[in-house]
C-alpha cells in the first residue's frame, strides 16, 4: 500500500487510489482527490454529490445505489459522468473518501 500527499497529510491509498483511512478525509483531501479524478475545480454540484455519498457512507458503511444518488441529487447519470469523468463508482466515491465499491461496479 502506498502513501500519498493529500490535503497536506500523508494518507494511505489502495492501488486504485482510494483512501484507506476514511476518518482523515476532509475538504482539502477531497479537493486533492478531485484533481486526480479530473474533477477540479469542484463546483457546488460536485459537492452535492460528494456530500451525499459521504453522508450515506457514514450511515451505512457502503456506497449508495446509483439510482438513489441520482434521485437525491437530481442529477442524471450522464451529468454525473460530466462531473466525475470516471463515473460514480470510481470517480465520485474516491473523491468522497469511500473505499472502492466491489462487485461489478
Amino acid at each position: 500500500m502506498a502513501k500519498i500527499l493529500l490535503g497536506g497529510m500523508e494518507i494511505e491509498v489502495d492501488e486504485d487510489g482510494f483512501i484507506q483511512e476514511p476518518e482523515r478525509w476532509n475538504k482539502e483531501v477531497a479537493e486533492d482527490l478531485a484533481k486526480i479524478e479530473m474533477a477540479y475545480p469542484m463546483s457546488d454540484d460536485h459537492w452535492k454529490v460528494v456530500n451525499y455519498l459521504r453522508n450515506y457512507y457514514l450511515e451505512f458503511e457502503i456506497a449508495p445505489p446509483i439510482r438513489m444518488l441520482t434521485k437525491q441529487t437530481g442529477f442524471d447519470l450522464k451529468y454525473i459522468y460530466q462531473l466525475f469523468p470516471r463515473g460514480p463508482a470510481v470517480g465520485a466515491c474516491k473523491v468522497a473518501g469511500l473505499p472502492k465499491p466491489t462487485g461489478c461496479v
Binding site: 492501488e15 451505512f60 449508495p64 445505489p65 439510482r67 463515473g87 472502492k100 466491489t102 462487485g103 461489478c104
Partner: protein, 452 residues
Amino acid sequence: MVTEAKVKAVEGYEKTLERWLGNVTKEDVKKVLEMVGKIDKLPYPRLVKLYLDLCSYCGACAEECHIYKTYPKKEFNPAYRTSLLRSVYLRHFTLIGKTFRGLIGAKELDEKMLQEWFIRFYQCTMCRRCGVFCPFGVDNMALVRTGRVFISAALGKTTLDMGRGVDSHLSLGNASFMKEAVFKHTVKFWEEEIKEKKGWEVKVPIDKIGAEMYLIPPNTDFFHSLETMEGITAMFHAAKADWTMSSKIFDVVNYGVFYDDDVWEKIINMHIEEAKRLKCKILVVGECGHALKSLMMLGPSLLGAFPFKVKSVLEVTADYIKQGKIKLNKEANPEPVTYHDPCNAARMCGIIEEPRIILKVVCKDFREMVPNRDRNYCCGGGGGVVLETASHDYRVEVAGKMKVDQIKQTGAKIVATICANCKVELDHLITYHKLDVRWAGVHDLVLNALML
C-alpha cells in the same frame, strides 16, 4: 486498426496483471506443475484432456474472437492462449513431449511461463465464441478457466477485485460488503420508487418460508441498476406471484465460476442451502449471466439434482406474457431498442428467445444487432474482467470495441441486456465512446410498460 491508444491500454493492463501475480519462485512453479499433473482430479477432466489433445492450430477460432479481431497479435490468438497450457502439459506429462520438446511445441513451465499464463488467462473474457466455431469442438474457455484454477489452487492468486469480491462473499454472503440493514433500506427505497412511478403499493416479501419462488438477483443490480429490481418486483406484483427474497442471501453472483472450484462450491452451497431453508419450488435467478450458468448448468451436473427448479427471471416473465398474466403497453418505450445477448445467458444457458419475447411486447421498435443470439460478440467484460477497475482501458479500447461498432450499426437509442456484468461494461463503453445510447436491463423496460 491497432491504434496507439490500444497499445497503451493493453500494455497497461498487462503490467498490472504481472504485478498482481507478483514475484514467482521455483517453488511456485513446482506447486502449479503439481496441479497440472492432477488434471484427472479436476471436476471436468474429460473435456480438458480432449481440448489439450485435439487442437490442430488451424486458426479458425482467432477469426471469431472479438479480442483477436480488434487487436490481431499472437498473444490474443485463442489457440495461442490455450497452447500455453497444452505445451506445458506436453512437455511435462507426455512421452512425445519429453522426447521431441520444442519441435512439437512442448514448453517447460518456468517463472516466465507462469507469468505469461496469468496474463493471458486473465485477458480472455471466457465468452466461448471461439468454441462455437472450432471445427473440432475445442472450447478454449474451458482451458483458460483450468489455467486460472491451477494458479488459484496452487498459489491462491487471482485478480484484485475478484479476490476482494470473493473475500466479501465468503464472510458476508454477498460480493459487495453489503449488510442486511443496507439491503432492507435499499428494498424500501425501490418500493417507494415503484409507488412514485406506478402508483402501486408494493411490498417485497422477505424470508417468506414456502413461497413458490425465491428470487436472487446479482448484488450489482442494487447499486448499478436498481430499475431492474423495480421492474422485477412490479412484474411479480402485477402477476400476483407468490415470491420472496432472502435477507441473508440476496446476491447470486459466484466468481468461483471464473477461476476456482472450491470458491465456486462454497458460494453455490450458500444459494442451495438458503433455497432449501426457504422451501421454495423455484429458485429464480435475476438478470445475471454467470450465476445462471453456475446454478442451471454447473451445479446440477456436479452436485446432483436440486430439490427445487432453477429458472431465469426472463423465463418467468416470458411465461407470464404467454399466459396473459401481465399487461404491457408498448407505447411506454417508444425509442428504438436493441438487445445484447450475454454470452453466459445465450451460449451457455440458452436464454435466447425469452428476452426477445419480452422486448417485442414492451417496446415499439425492437432491432437485432448482428451477429446475435448464440453467435453474439462478448461485451468485453466477461470472465470477471469487468470487475477490475484496472482493466477499464483494456475493456473499452480492445475487448469491447466490436460491441461498440455493433451497437452503432443498429441505430438504437437503448441497448438492453440481462447480465449485471454486461450492464457495467456497456455503461463504460457508452460513456467512453460517447455513444448516444443508454443501457437498460430488460426489466427496466418492463417496468415502464407494465399496466395493472
